[in-house]
């Protein structure tokens, strides 16, 4: 706990980072992400880019699930809408990528609102099933409307251009993703220290009390779906322009579940947690395959087993984490910080 800290103005008291330690930590993190690409190998840059996209998607999902308490199994579908909207706008209509992305986000927000309508009547598992319908409908539309989407064929998108520079390397695209992820995190952090975000959380905690204190639950639930889908759509649109080739298989129910796991492991209703979860779920499979590659020379038998066991190890680690820290990595991070606040007087 950060005790003994007092503020003389409400501006300072309401700041995102309130103490010098918090500010320094944030500054260090910013410096790190700015110099990282100059030292990182292409392999690590690629991972970093994946993490950035996953972070945006996880924040988007967290807005809906973690903050507003509306369970969604439609993450994959909403990412698909964002990805295909951006991809088609560029590939078929020749829109530059920086225009296709915001339009794709708005389209996804709209689709999110439509599939959010059941939330006005349904809660919990019932809502989860309703959002599963979104997943099925979107998948079906993509695969059965080849005139528009190319159907089960992959959609190829020309690589993005900015000021005459082709953003076709991990290094170049990194900056776009950094901007997008940073913007998403900042916007969301602001949202949840102000009026609209409070209304979202109030609906999660006690929807009747929220209604009675004057929150139009009907409106704010749909707004939560719109906001969430906007950022999930952003993650999808960025995927399209980053990969320059997409197919429906990237956005199945498995994606939805992966993202749910991300925010649960990272921490529901936190921005840190969205990032931690995204990093964890991206790095863990990469680490497992690294280990199996290293083992190939030392113990060939183990190495042949490992790829097969990969899914199992993945699952086991997740379960282990959940058992040890049910509130996710964000909580673990808080514990570590609290430990150092009282350190060395930690008794």
């Amino acid at each position: 706990m950060e005790s003994g800290v007092f503020f003389t103005t409400y501006e300072a008291d309401m700041a995102l980072r309130r103490t010098p330690v918090q500010k320094i930590r944030l500054a260090l993190f910013i410096v790190f992400v700015l110099v990282f690409p100059f030292f990182a190998s292409p392999y690590w840059l690629n991972l970093a880019n994946q993490i950035a996209i996953a972070t945006i998607g996880a924040i988007g999902l967290n807005i809906l699930v973690g903050y507003t308490g509306q369970i969604s199994l439609g993450q994959g579908a909403f990412m698909a809408v964002g990805a295909y909207s951006a991809g088609l706008l560029t590939a078929r209509m020749g829109l530059p990528f920086y225009l296709s992305i915001p339009i794709a986000c708005l389209i996804t927000a709209l689709v999110g609102v439509v599939f959010g309508i059941p939330s006005l009547r349904l809660k919990g598992l019932y809502l989860a099933i309703a959002t599963l319908a979104a997943q099925e409908i979107v998948e079906w539309t993509i695969t059965h409307w080849p005139q528009l989407t190319g159907g089960t064929e992959a959609l190829v998108i020309p690589s993005p251009m900015l000021f005459g520079v082709r953003l076709n390397t991990d290094f170049r695209f990194y900056w776009i993703l950094l901007l997008a992820a940073g913007g998403t995190a900042l916007f969301t952090a602001n949202l949840f220290r102000t009026r609209v975000g409070r209304a979202f959380v109030a609906i999660r905690d006690q929807d009747i009390a929220a209604e009675v204190i004057g929150v139009n639950v009907f409106f704010y639930k749909l707004l939560a779906f719109a906001t969430s889908s906007f950022f999930v759509g952003l993650a999808g649109a960025l995927t399209a322009h980053y990969r320059t080739i997409i197919s429906w298989e990237r956005f199945t129910i498995e994606t939805s579940i992966l993202y749910l796991a991300m925010i649960i492991i990272g921490g529901l209703g936190t921005i840190n947690g969205s990032f931690f979860g995204a990093a964890f779920m991206t790095l863990l499979p990469a680490m497992i395959s690294n280990i199996s590659r290293a083992l190939r020379d030392v113990a060939p038998i183990l190495a042949t087993l490992l790829p097969a066991a990969q899914q199992g190890i993945f699952g086991a680690v997740i379960i282990l984490f959940l058992v040890l820290e049910p509130e996710g990595l964000a909580k673990l991070w808080r514990n570590i910080k609290d430990y150092f606040y009282v350190w060395p007087f930690s008794y």
Partner: protein, 270 residues
């Protein structure tokens, strides 16, 4: 008392509410007058909470009328309004079983009381520094005023779920008060409190009524409190109004004594 009748702010006429075969309210008529503390009493299951739920729009009575008069004297048919719209008119309440936003801090709970007075939308909120910061600070001042008043400065940043019961009741009162209501509906605000906490709460309620000019409707089982605080009392029994009047009138009303017969504890207090 002067013979000048204060304005009526809320009027219920012949309200009827039933759940399947159970009649929660039958032909309930009453009025709430500007500036008063109106107590609603009655045995368990008499329909007190149901009545408040009708006023705040959570229950829709099948019969009757329910009208609110705002400060300008305009008439609002509450039966046509949703709970959020009723809050916006200036009717706030607390619940019998605390209904706070458990994972939010005291500060955020109270800031939600300001929700209807704020304008921030998704864009201004997300872009904070552009416009929202100013509005947040403005309303934070109002909330700090409530925090001072209720003497809860030291728990501002605590998640309400971690607070003791008595404090939670106080925070819930604070959230309703932060809305700057014309009418405050309190459903057993002192239930389950110790004597000291009850005295604090009674003092707060009186201050809110007298210094902040808030009209109060109070459900309370503790007759001592009711007799001390209220200007008028409405007695419900089996969903019907069996008596209305000053505390002294009501105490002597044979119907009331009848209703409380068999309940020794309550009888003693009458």
């Amino acid at each position: 008392m002067s013979n000048r009748q204060p304005r009526v702010r809320l009027k219920a006429e012949h309200l009827g509410l039933h759940f399947g075969g159970v009649a929660a309210l039958t032909d309930v008529s009453l009025e709430v007058r500007e500036g008063e503390i109106l107590a609603i009493i009655g045995p368990n299951g008499a329909g007190k909470t149901s009545l408040l739920n009708c006023i705040s729009g959570l229950y829709r009575p099948q019969q009757g009328h329910l009208v609110f008069y705002d400060r300008q004297g305009n008439e609002h048919n509450l039966l046509k309004k949703k709970p959020a719209e009723i809050a916006r008119l200036g009717i706030a309440r607390s619940f019998q079983n605390i209904e706070l936003f458990r994972h939010m801090t005291v500060l955020d709970n109270l800031m939600l009381g300001r929700h209807v007075h704020m304008k921030g939308n998704i864009l201004t909120c997300g872009l904070y520094w552009w416009r929202q910061q100013k509005e947040e600070i403005e309303h934070r001042r109002r909330v700090e005023d409530v925090i001072d008043f209720l003497e809860i400065e030291n728990i501002r940043r605590k998640p309400v779920g971690t607070l003791a019961y008595g404090l939670q009741k106080r925070v819930e009162l604070g959230r309703a008060l932060a809305l700057d209501p014309d009418i405050l509906l309190l459903d057993e605000p002192m239930a389950g409190m110790n004597v000291e906490e009850k005295e604090d709460m009674a003092r707060f309620i009186l201050d809110i009524n007298q210094e902040r000019d808030v009209t109060i409707v109070l459900i309370e089982h503790d007759m001592g409190v009711v007799m001390d605080l209220s200007d008028r009392v409405v007695v419900l029994d089996f969903g019907r109004v069996i008596a209305t009047g000053t505390p002294d009138d009501v105490r002597q009303n044979p119907l009331v004594i009848q209703a409380y017969l068999g309940n020794e504890a309550l009888m003693e207090q009458l």
